[in-house]
């Protein structure tokens, strides 16, 4: 990606913060967009097909019409013979649950994903996911940092604080935790609650990203994205507390502001990186935000989103 001076977006992508303007301007400096693996990364090389090597993750990349074909019979799973019918499959997990747990979360790229513990303005607590894009900046969903139209008195607005736990593995915090009260988002989300602008950032008071590494990010064409495999790793609430889970699948569709995919996710994964692997480097293409009945979706890294991300990681 060629370096160029980024223009601050206007309109719905106009950046906003809970911090005073002079604090933000003082932090601006020139930055790059490629990933960094951090210190002593112990990185596992990805596969040539653009997916991660994860023990136990078996489903292969196929066109969607080869995956979803009508069964020729209606036999129940053999497991029911011993264990009875399975519990209802959650709808943000589409079809069989393909997610696998990441055990080596202290290695890159897994340690660049962070478990988030969010304290909202009314002191309610939530969980989400973030991912490093620079030494002191994580991307996440807009609704992780700014709650909109909750209908609950005292809850709307910037959250009070977020505890950031990179590479968390259950109770283990291999890189400790850091608490932030400095957040970024855009007017399209904070003023309008428009899901097309549901993205934001967490600025931490340390340079922990220099240790854990960070993801690159970029803007790609519709055709390029629709031919790409997307990967998601995050901290779903339907699994044991604080465990990181991964899945991948070819991107299903895109529009100018969103990316859609059948990658299995669950509540708690809001803010996860939707990323592709290019020449061994991990690059975010969207920020996971919504679970749907048939596809899940994330806020696409379009040009104004990219420009904000460049500014926020400075």
């Amino acid at each position: 990606m060629a370096k160029s001076k980024v223009r601050q977006p206007t309109g719905p992508d106009a950046p906003v913060s809970n911090q005073p303007k002079e604090v933000i301007e003082a932090a601006t400096k020139a930055v790059t967009r490629p990933p960094s693996e951090g210190k002593d990364p112990k990185t596992s090389a990805p596969k040539p097909d653009g997916t991660e090597v994860v023990s136990g993750h078996r489903h292969t990349i196929k066109p969607l019409n080869e995956i979803f074909t009508a069964p020729s019979s209606s036999l129940p799973d053999i497991g029911e013979a011993s264990f009875g019918p399975p519990p209802k499959i959650t709808e943000t997990v589409h079809g069989p649950d393909d997610r696998v747990q990441i055990s080596n979360t202290s290695a890159y790229p897994w340690r660049a994903h962070a478990s988030l513990l969010i304290t909202a303005a009314d002191n309610s607590m939530w969980i989400g996911t973030g991912w490093f894009i620079g030494p002191h900046t994580l991307m996440t969903a807009g609704h992780v940092v700014f709650i909109k139209n909750s209908g609950v008195p005292g809850r709307d607005g910037w959250v009070k604080k977020i505890q950031v736990m990179p590479g968390r593995n259950g109770n283990a915090l291999p890189y400790g935790s850091v608490t932030s009260s400095s957040f970024r988002s855009v007017l399209g989300w904070t003023n309008n609650g428009d899901e097309n602008y549901d993205y934001g950032a967490i600025i931490i008071p340390t340079e922990l990203g220099n240790t854990v590494g960070w993801f690159g990010f970029g803007v790609w064409s519709d055709a390029d994205l629709k031919a790409a495999v997307a990967n998601i790793s995050g901290y779903p609430g339907d699994k044991p507390a604080g465990t990181q889970w991964y899945d991948h699948r070819q991107i299903a569709s895109v529009n100018s502001r969103k990316v859609f995919y059948d990658i299995d996710t669950a509540g708690g994964q809001s803010g996860s990186a939707v990323y592709r692997i290019i020449n061994g480097g991990r690059y975010g293409v969207a920020v996971h935000a919504y679970g749907g009945a048939t596809t899940n979706s994330g806020t696409r890294i379009a040009t104004p989103v990219f420009n904000n991300m460049v500014a926020w990681k400075a």
Partner: protein
């Protein structure tokens, strides 16, 4: 996001009625795509979720050491719905 969401208010407890704090509660199905964030129950096992549009919702209550519980609720615009999520160990 709807300016007049419904509210789902609930308590997660065990079969004996003891509150389960730090349980994860999230939507798994609804009439529209929903934020993939999960609420944590407080010390009283209580949680509040916003239902952005009227319709039928499925929520899931999960806590370590318990079997997950799925609850279905119908929420009207601006309505407050109470649920009781009892977990089996």
């Amino acid at each position: 996001m709807s300016p007049d969401p419904g509210i789902i208010v609930g308590v997660v407890s065990d079969r004996a009625g003891t509150a389960v704090p730090a349980a994860r509660v999230s939507f798994v199905r609804g009439p529209t795509a929903l934020p993939d964030i999960a609420a944590l129950t407080d010390s009283r096992g209580a949680f509040t979720l916003s239902a952005p549009t009227p319709g039928d919702y499925t929520i899931q209550c999960v806590a370590d050491g318990y079997a997950p519980k799925v609850i279905r609720v119908s929420v009207a615009r601006g309505a407050r719905v109470e649920v009781d999520c009892r977990l089996d160990s």
